[in-house]
């Protein structure tokens, strides 16, 4: 192999559709619909119509059996040159990230010059679902405009609604939902209800502000009437969230509510990557360089690891390999399944401690 490799991998831009509540705006859309729309928006933004890219790698966690060649089928529906290869992969919540690693590695090794990585999911039966009763209460609460309406919505709440109806949405080996797993971890790490609610509220407010200042103007392709994320609640407040009852975990110490946990969501996103010369030839300015990636897995079945704590192990390994510290970064993104996941991860990194 020539010593020119590995070479630099540029992150050139991205696109997504607004994220919808499951059963909402995208109820009738398929994974392919979501991803094709996302790709066409990306293609238009970067002037790629008719281009043959090196590879397009993406996946969906919840996939119909007919979608065995999902991504390649999507390509044939886009404005890309139909000779653009593509394949599906799947790694639970890490599907999109793993796709990006694969594309980056291929570029780094000179196997391709350009590629798109992405993910698509319509989570109508994702591994977390609230009972219809609780959904009804929360949706009514969401629609409520006056304190009286809010009170009326809350009055319809019944304790029985708390049992999540998730027969299929559990870890096969533990029989527990992702949320219940996370509730155990949060408790072990002493992540408070207040901290989770604060993070959730800040997250809503920051997202709303970003939309308002036009940050997403050229990052999102609206779809089926949705122009902003349907989960976004700009008027969310710590006081409002404080009123919600926990939905994951049991007993007095339960902290995870529908307000600080991610609802079931449908959406798709994609990122364009390329070699330095491909970027230059297409007049694209790299936004960042893909330097390295690390995947980890944890023993949540027999060991004491929390189900969602793999990043806690992956990042130190990555930093050690690169001779870097967390202070060397300007931005971090932590997968935000639950506010408590983010807070646990930060706490673990901060204490340089990992669960035994």
């Amino acid at each position: 192999m020539s010593s020119d490799f590995p070479r630099k991998v540029a992150i050139l831009g991205g696109n997504r559709v607004p994220f919808a509540r499951s059963g909402g705006a995208y109820a009738a859309a398929s994974n392919a619909d979501l991803f094709t729309t996302t790709l066409d928006g990306l293609i238009a933004r970067f002037g790629l119509a008719g281009e043959q890219l090196g590879d397009v790698v993406a996946g969906a966690v919840l996939k119909h059996s007919r979608d065995w060649n999902l991504v390649r089928e999507c390509i044939l529906g886009t404005a890309l040159d139909p000779r653009t290869p593509a394949f599906d992969l799947q790694q639970a919540c890490g599907t999109g990230l793993e796709a990006a690693i694969v594309v980056a590695n291929k570029i780094a090794l000179g196997q391709i010059d350009s590629g798109i990585a992405g993910g698509t999911d319509t989570a109508s039966d994702a591994p977390m679902s609230l009972s219809d009763g609780l959904r009804g209460v929360l949706l009514a609460l969401n629609r409520a405009k006056t304190p009286a309406q809010r009170a009326a919505a809350l009055a319809t709440f019944r304790p029985a609604y708390l049992s999540p109806q998730v027969p299929a949405n559990v870890e096969p080996r533990t029989g527990m939902s992702m949320g219940d797993h996370m509730a155990i971890t949060a408790k072990e790490w002493g992540i408070t209800r207040e901290a989770q609610d604060e993070l959730a509220v800040a997250s809503h407010h920051n997202l709303a502000a970003a939309y308002d200042r036009g940050f997403f103007d050229d990052l999102v392709t609206p779809y089926l009437g949705l122009t902003r994320d349907a989960n976004l609640r700009p008027d969310s407040s710590v006081e409002k969230l404080a009123k919600l009852s926990p939905v994951f975990g049991k007993g007095d110490g339960a902290t995870m509510t529908a307000g600080n946990s991610t609802p079931l969501t449908d959406g798709a996103s994609a990122v364009l990557m390329g070699s330095e010369s491909w970027a230059a030839a297409h007049n694209l300015t790299p936004l960042a360089w893909f330097v390295d990636a690390q995947t980890a897995a944890v023993d949540y079945v027999n060991g004491r690891d929390g189900l969602l704590t793999a990043p806690v192990f992956a990042v130190p390994e990555l930093l050690a390999r690169q001779g870097m510290s967390l202070q060397d970064f300007d931005f971090y993104e932590i997968h935000e399944a639950f506010a408590s996941t983010v807070l646990t991860t930060l706490a673990a990194w901060g204490e340089r401690r990992v669960l035994p």
Binding site: A79, F216, D217, P222
Partner: protein, 455 residues
């Protein structure tokens, strides 16, 4: 988004005149207009060319053009069909010379084929040397508009006023008027002058690719007239940057991908949109040559019921945004020298319309902006042209949703007895965008089939 379907017919449709037209429904089917195709001849039949006196510079050039294109020059004394008649009256000294117009055009009208063309050529009367000369050349306006109303079967008549020493700049305009590009343009007066900075203009290597190598921005390109403009500019060789509001992003992506251009999601009223357009064009495409300010909205309501917000939104999108974006577009590192700005006005901006005071104001303001900017000394020195197109009744999805009888009235109230298509507006915009057309600036051309409104 408010629809533009009422532009500018809503009030008219309920007027006594409108009712009379409804009553007369059952008119013969309107002629299918001859429209441009890349492989279509400039003219689909012979042309008659006439003029006054020995010195007929435009007739000479028209003859040369038609000969290059292999179009037969007809014999004024026989009766065979002709597809066009061109009469060069640039030499007129006084009203007595107008007889020549009659003598050339009158016998040709019966010979004119479907979608035929009458092109009358004079001089701008403002620069006439004598009162007699001014009267004669101004008379061509009334004469040409009357001829346009007399014509049938999709034929059009237009007047071209060519300034002295600008005779070499007329080819793009003659080609436009002769060809199917001007299908829905009739009764118009077009002035052809010198290039702003005195440079001689550049003719394209290939007249089917007059915009080759150019980068063009079209605002409001996600649908309707803007999408058609993007398509025609791309067909003519330009690379397209399609701009529309973020909420229209999916349709915008469709347009950009179809034309192999790029999409830029931006609200034209945002403070930084002009800069974003300029940056995008230069970073991604290396240049910026053509800007079409097409984005527009209506918020129709009687003025008596119009509040400040409603008023402001229309003026902001349709007029103020253009001024704001132009600062970056015309500023350092913006549009290239010899570039072209095209604004989309409306016949509501010429005639006014009940319930459209804000819209009428904005579209009339667009005309003032166009004319003043075209005369700006810096703009002229850079050889940049600024023109406006004023569409009449254009068949869009929205006009399609008007109830049948009402719609029939709207589309019939013009000399061509039919609505125009978005592509007709787009063809005029594309002609304004040609370097070969650098002698045409400060013009407002209606694409309205010689609508009775505001004529």
């Amino acid at each position: 988004m408010a629809s533009l379907r009422n532009d500018p017919y809503a009030a008219l449709l309920s007027s006594p005149l409108g009712k009379r037209v409804v009553d007369s429904l059952g008119l013969p089917q309107p002629t299918k207009l001859r429209r441009y195709a890349v492989d279509a001849p400039v003219l689909d039949g012979a042309a008659l060319i006439g003029g006054l006196g020995e010195d007929t510079p435009i007739a000479d050039r028209a003859k040369a053009l038609l000969e290059t294109e292999g179009v037969e020059i007809g014999d004024p004394f026989d009766t065979l069909p002709v597809a066009a008649v061109i009469v060069d009256l640039t030499a007129m000294a006084g009203p007595a010379d107008l007889e020549r117009l009659r003598a050339v055009v009158a016998p040709s009208l019966k010979r004119l084929t479907s979608s035929g063309r009458v092109i009358v050529v004079g001089r701008p009367w403002e620069s006439a040397r004598t009162v007699e000369q001014a009267a004669a050349h101004r008379a061509l306006v009334g004469a040409t508009k009357s001829i346009a109303k007399e014509l049938r079967a999709g034929a059009t008549a237009n007047l071209v006023l060519v300034a002295e020493r600008a005779e070499d700049n007329v080819e793009a305009t003659l080609r436009f008027l002769l060809s199917g590009r001007s299908a829905y343009v009739s009764g118009q007066v077009i002035e052809v002058g010198g290039t702003g900075n005195g440079d001689s203009l550049l003719l394209p290597d290939d007249w089917t690719q007059p915009l080759a190598g150019k980068v063009a921005v079209v605002t409001g390109a996600a649908r309707g007239i803007g999408a058609a403009i993007a398509e025609v500019l791309a067909r003519d060789g330009a690379t397209i940057v399609a701009v529309d509001i973020p909420a229209a992003g999916q349709a915008l992506a469709g347009v950009a991908n179809r034309l192999h251009g790029t999409a830029l999601q931006a609200d034209v009223t945002a403070a930084d949109t002009g800069e974003r357009i300029v940056d995008h064009c230069h970073l991604r495409h290396g240049r910026l040559d053509i800007v079409v300010h097409n984005a527009g909205i209506t918020r129709d309501k009687l003025l008596a019921n119009t509040d400040e917000a409603r008023w402001a939104s229309v003026l902001d999108v349709n007029l103020l945004s253009i001024l704001r974006m132009n600062e970056a577009i015309l500023g350092e590192g913006g549009i290239s020298d010899h570039g072209h700005l095209v604004l989309v006005s409306s016949i509501a901006g010429i005639a006014g319309n009940r319930g459209q005071t804000s819209y009428g104001a904005s579209k009339s303001g667009v005309i003032g902006l166009t004319q003043a900017l075209s005369r700006d000394s810096a703009v002229q020195a850079r050889g940049i042209t600024v023109n406006a197109v004023a569409p009449g009744f254009i068949e869009t999805e929205m006009t399609g949703s008007i109830p049948f009888a009402t719609r029939e009235v709207g589309r019939r109230l013009n000399s061509l007895q039919q609505g125009g298509l978005p592509i007709d507006v787009a063809e005029t915009v594309a002609w304004f965008s040609q370097d070969a057309n650098a002698g045409v600036t400060g013009q407002v051309v209606r694409v309205c089939g010689q609508s009775l409104i505001g004529a």
